[in-house]
């Protein structure tokens, strides 16, 4: 199972959030779960992240990296794929390296299941 994490959205970027979810479900099909988490729950103006879960994918069988990268670059978002089974993730940090970077995570990684 993977969680696709898009971050970060400004509080006024609801439209971008919607188009992000629509884009993902357009190319990957319906997701099991979509979670929106604010960086600061007490701040109404807080930026937020979007987490989209798919149980059918792992980091290895996922075949839409190029499309995700294009979307992230075009919309100036970071996108991270976290694999709950292997506790590793791949991220594309827009504006930094124009490639995916894989990282091992510890048990404290917080990605909603």
């Amino acid at each position: 199972m993977i969680t696709i994490d898009f971050n970060s959205f400004g509080s006024e970027q609801d439209e971008l959030k919607e188009s992000c979810i629509e884009f993902i479900q357009d190319i990957l099909g319906p997701s099991e779960k979509v979670t929106i988490l604010k960086d600061d729950e007490n701040d109404p103006e807080s930026s937020f992240s979007v987490y989209i879960n798919y149980s059918k994918f792992t980091l290895n069988n996922f075949s839409f990296y190029d499309e995700l990268m294009d979307f992230a670059r075009e919309n100036e978002l970071y996108v991270i794929l976290y694999d709950h089974n292997t506790k590793s993730r791949k991220g594309y940090w827009y504006g930094e390296e124009d490639d995916w970077i894989e990282q091992e995570m510890d048990n404290n990684a917080i990605y909603p299941k």
């Binding site: 357009d26 190029d66 499309e67 294009d70 979307f71 075009e74 124009d98």
Partner: protein, 167 residues
Amino acid sequence: MNTLIQLARNESGSSSPLDSSILSLRIFSLHKCIFDKETKIFIHFLVVIGYSGGGCQEECFYKINGSNFEKSTIQISTSAGDSFYQFSFKNQNIVELETEMSQFDRQIQGEFIESINKYLLYDDGIGYFFFDNRNPNVNSGFLKTGKFPIRILKNLKNVYWPFSTHW
């Protein structure tokens, strides 16, 4: 403006450790992409301007269908004619983007002249460009003057250039 400049060395190579002269250059001056919902693929557009000795300037558009650049087809359009350019499909978004890019193309030529003076010096007499090769923005034959998807560039580096310059 996102700009990358591909530097083509003159036949004699560098003239000194401090600077290099080049006869021609190719500017990847604009990249945009849109998602086509019907086909579920991204379509990339790039404006590329080529300069050769004597101030000769040519330009063309690249259109890349899909996000996997190793497999995507690349279509080329030149301002002189469209013999290379055959769309397999067109929707309103693409038509609008083409129009926008065509207008933007004229604008970036003006902006380019201004910004490039920071990096390159053009000698009218001999028709060469000169650049400081110690500039950290010069890397692997490219001069990076802004943000540009390197991944796309790696695949475009050897793409057919439809004009008769030294590429």
